[in-house]
């Protein structure tokens, strides 16, 4: 079934949301393909539909064209991410052959790529609208994870066990993790890799934790974020760390879940 949308602001978002929700309520995956294109009329849309169903006979899909955003949209029932991606290759072929494609195709599938909320869907459409003029390729959409602000972390501690423990857990969460065993090494790595976040013990040889905090927060004009993870529990240590620009203070013995939660919060907050 091909639907033609004309001149109505927000109609595509509404349509997409509605259809994905209908499909989701049946506990089935729902694929979405979006493409910035030249003006497509009803006839071309029908042609595309028959072209796709030649190779995918069992496909149940809806075809939309939003001439407000100049975005072509396709909603595929019971199609997971991989299958949607496959279909998008066929769609891309057709659009390119007819000289209609004007940028990147954006491919997604719910719930694999995130919850089909209003913000996700409008994020998706926005992405497709922006993709106009880009190279004619297929882009896989993934809802941006919560820790969008932080992707790389440097852990500084003299204790090898602590470093490894934190590194393994954070790597499972998808962060890139660097390790340093003292303050001097930490500074060297920091200036090279510029991680988004530094987790440091205060008690370090050569350059101690306070100096490290001071140098990092100064070096990158308050953009360097430092979480203190230390065995020291006195109010003095807490005060001095925050005065120097630390952003959070976790005391040992610590819970790794707590640390992960704090890092996540940090990403959302910024």
């Amino acid at each position: 079934m091909a639907v033609f949308i004309r001149d109505r602001h927000g109609e595509l978002t509404r349509q997409l949301l509605q259809m994905t929700h209908v499909i989701r309520d049946r506990h089935q995956p729902c694929g979405v393909i979006l493409a910035p294109s030249a003006n497509i009329n009803q006839q071309t849309l029908d042609q595309l539909e028959s072209f796709v169903s030649q190779s995918e006979t069992e496909l149940a899909a809806k075809y939309l064209f939003d001439d407000h955003n100049m975005v072509f949209a396709m909603i595929l029932e019971e199609r997971k991410f991989a299958a949607t991606h496959y279909t998008s290759l066929i769609v891309k072929d057709f659009l390119e052959n007819h000289g209609l494609l004007q940028g990147q195709l954006v491919v997604a599938s719910f719930p694999e790529c995130g919850e089909p909320t209003e913000s996700t869907v409008s994020q998706l459409i926005e992405l497709a609208a922006k993709a106009r003029g880009e190279e004619k390729e297929i882009r896989l959409f993934i809802e941006q994870p919560a820790h969008q602000g932080i992707s790389s972390i440097l852990i500084v501690d003299t204790d090898e066990v602590v470093r490894e423990f934190v590194r393994l857990h954070l790597e499972l969460e998808g962060y890139t993790v660097y390790e340093a065993k003292d303050g001097a090494e930490a500074l060297a790595i920091y200036s090279e890799a510029v991680p988004d976040l530094v987790i440091t013990e205060l008690n370090l040889p050569i350059v101690d934790g306070y100096q490290l905090i001071n140098k990092i927060t100064k070096a990158s004009a308050n953009k360097g974020k430092v979480i203190v993870l230390t065995g020291k529990q006195l109010a003095d240590h807490l005060n001095r760390s925050f005065e120097l620009g630390a952003i959070d203070f976790v005391t040992k013995p610590f819970s790794i879940s707590e640390l992960q939660w704090r890092i996540k919060k940090l990403g959302e907050w910024r």
């Binding site: 008690n203 040889p205 101690d208 065995g231 020291k232 003095d236 013995p253």
Partner: protein, 482 residues
């Protein structure tokens, strides 16, 4: 004199000599029996303490304690004289201890090398004018240096006045109620201070001093001021000293501390109540052996003023020190110890010995130290002469001598083995089996020459004392193994 004349007149001086030697023989027998009994008593006390100690070490929460606000604040006093090679590494290591609240006070005792400049350059120190107490009179302080970047580090530059004088200057500046003395050539383990504070916290009112355990760092690898690979020393002299230290600290001090009769808290690492140290007028300057002196004075002060007190020992708080590895330096160290020991006994010990007022300390510790440590060389030397006499006068045969020698050897060797047992049962710092074998071997080798040398050195130290030779002797520093 009539007695002797009588013998000479009757031409029986040979008979007199025999009587004399026989009398000496009885004396020597009793001497050896009593010293062995005391050794075994102390050793038995050490063994009895071992398992409670081991449990204490197993179940303490050192990690949690090391950041806790319940630990008392400590001022570390680090006297430094010509330490330009190792001072930076040591101070860095001291600044990174696992302890919540402490300050490091380094005292430059008028070094003739670059110690002062090295410190000021490395930590970018600047002269400050803080208010300094004048509890104890010291040599002139030239300046006190500080850098807010290192808020826990103070550096005192003063005229040369000896180690005791430096410690007194440190006490005057210190801000906290506990002081800890640390040799600048020693490495403190990261949690040593926490461990010692744990012992202190068992009875904070009464504990006037806690000693740490000193181990020998030769042949171990050191990384960023942390001892990484613990290895038994490869060279002969450090190896012998290693087993000697283990025996003295684990076989001896644990037992002495159990009956509150500890006479020395090692100068390399110990913690003291500052007000008590000030009450006994601080460290005595001008003579080595100030570490034993301060403990004797603390005992005396507390017993005379009927203050309940204890001098504790904490064997799991470890300080690593470099042992002298050449004959020359070792002999100068031991002569110094002998000299200091004699001085302490003449100055303090003699007033307290055998007086019931001074309890265990006066009735057991001091008699033991005077009779069996200080006077030991004389008994040994006269003993040798006596054996010569017995042989010349045909009063003995070689079988008897061998039996005596073997009994003596085994009774001492068993003690060495016992100390090794405590080491392995409670601490087992040496992970390799070959190290244990070496320890056994050297415990045996100690009896072939090394102990005899020890006696000789102590005797030479006494001669130095009588000749009023009052130098510190030589000590050459080397960098730690990387």
């Amino acid at each position: 004199m009539k007695f002797i004349e009588y013998y000479l007149q009757t031409d029986s001086w040979l008979h007199f000599l025999r009587e004399l030697l026989l009398g000496y023989g009885y004396f020597a027998m009793y001497y050896v029996v009593v010293i062995t009994l005391i050794y075994y008593l102390i050793f038995a006390l050490s063994i009895r303490q071992t398992f409670p100690l081991k449990r204490g070490i197993q179940y303490n929460r050192i990690k949690k304690l090391s950041g806790s606000k319940h630990l008392p604040a400590v001022s570390l006093l680090v006297p430094a004289y010509n330490e330009e090679l190792t001072i930076i590494e040591n101070v860095r290591s001291l600044l990174a201890l696992n302890y919540p609240k402490y300050e490091v006070i380094v005292i430059n005792d008028g070094s003739t090398d670059n110690t002062f400049q090295v410190m000021v350059d490395e930590f970018k120190l600047e002269k400050i004018n803080p208010i300094v107490a004048d509890h104890i009179q010291t040599e002139k302080v030239r300046g006190i240096y500080y850098n807010p970047e290192y808020p826990t580090l103070y550096f005192i530059d003063k005229e040369n006045g000896g180690k005791a004088d430096s410690l007194n200057a440190g006490i005057n500046l210190s801000h906290y109620p506990l002081i800890s003395t640390i040799d600048a050539d020693s490495l403190l383990e990261k949690d040593a201070l926490t461990r010692i504070a744990r012992v202190y916290l068992e009875n904070p009112e009464d504990t006037v001093a806690v000693g740490g355990n000193v181990r020998i760092v030769n042949s171990c690898t050191v990384e960023d001021g942390i001892v990484k690979n613990v290895r038994f020393p490869k060279k002969l002299l450090p190896a012998l000293q290693n087993v000697e230290y283990i025996k003295a600290f684990l076989g001896g001090r644990i037992g002495w501390s159990a009956i509150n009769g500890l006479i020395i808290v090692s100068g390399a690492f110990g913690v003291f109540q500052k007000d008590k140290v000030i009450a006994v007028k601080g460290y005595r300057g001008g003579y080595p052996g100030e570490d034993m002196n301060i403990v004797i004075k603390l005992h005396r002060y507390c017993l005379e003023n009927k203050i309940p007190y204890r001098v504790a020992f904490c064997p799991d708080a470890v300080c690593w020190t470099q042992a002298p590895d050449t004959y020359r330096i070792l002999s100068s160290q031991r002569k110094r110890w002998g000299r200091g020991n004699l001085k302490n006994m003449i100055e303090e010990g003699i007033h307290m010995v055998f007086r019931p007022k001074y309890k265990v300390f006066g009735l057991l510790t001091l008699p033991y130290n005077i009779l069996f440590e200080t006077l030991n060389p004389y008994v040994r030397i006269t003993g040798l002469l006596a054996i010569l006499g017995y042989w010349l006068l045909n009063m003995t045969d070689w079988q008897t001598l061998v039996v005596f020698a073997l009994v003596n050897f085994f009774s001492c060797f068993i003690l060495s083995l016992g100390a090794l047992f405590i080491e392995e049962a409670a601490f087992s710092r040496y992970p390799r089996l070959s190290d244990l074998n070496k320890m056994l071997l050297y415990s045996f080798l100690m009896f072939l020459g090394y102990r005899q040398l020890g006696v000789l050195w102590r005797f030479l130290g006494h001669i130095d004392y009588l000749r009023n030779n009052n130098t510190w002797g030589t000590m050459v520093r080397t960098r730690f193994n990387k």
